[in-house]
Symmetry: C2
Subunit: 116 residues, 2 copies
């Protein structure tokens, strides 16, 4: 352990980028780089690590939560476009429930923090 409190105190939600990806993909099929640019608006992070993002996407695909296809024809490098599956949609719903629980726990904490 690197001394609690020395650096972060960012109170990040674990693997938060995952439900955010699913939410963005529910809205429309998108490719990785575009997701990378859309993520910070929802995660609050200034940047998200590219390498990890692509790894998460591949993991999601391996588990049948998204499907992908190579987008050809357009100018520029080939893009891999991801689309949400029914399974992925269900996982997103699960995440939403879990996040509501998190919000309640944070509220409980803050109430007790302020209430004195």
């Amino acid at each position: 352990m690197v001394r609690p409190g020395h650096w972060g105190v960012r109170a990040r939600v674990e693997r938060f980028s995952e439900p955010v990806l699913l939410l963005l993909l529910r809205e429309r099929p998108t490719h990785g780089y575009e997701l990378l640019e859309a993520l910070p608006s929802l995660t609050g992070e200034t940047r998200v690590d590219m390498g990890n993002l692509y790894r998460v996407l591949r993991g999601l695909e391996e588990d049948g939560l998204v499907t992908s296809r190579w987008e050809a024809g357009e100018p520029g490098p080939a893009k891999r476009t991801y689309e949400l599956t029914v399974e992925g949609r269900r996982l997103l719903d699960e995440w939403a429930g879990a996040l509501q629980g998190s919000r309640e726990r944070i509220d409980t904490f803050l109430d007790r923090y302020e209430g004195r």
Copy 2:
């Protein structure tokens, strides 16, 4: 990473037990094992890992965020009682701020999730 259909999806806040410890210690000096029993009511977890708890407490002390003294005389094994320092109090305030940010990010997510 376990199998995604079966992943935890608990949406835990990273190192959440740390601010909870600080909050409990702000209310009154307490020893480790008692904190262990009080934690779940705030963290929402059924149990908190003992090993990690004591490591966090030691880390907090190393950084001057809490002080401890061995409590003798009472029945049962000797207890190490922890007390919050001024520094620790400041860290708690920092956490509270960060957690408010987290709540806002979760709200943004949930709004966008429900809004359709």
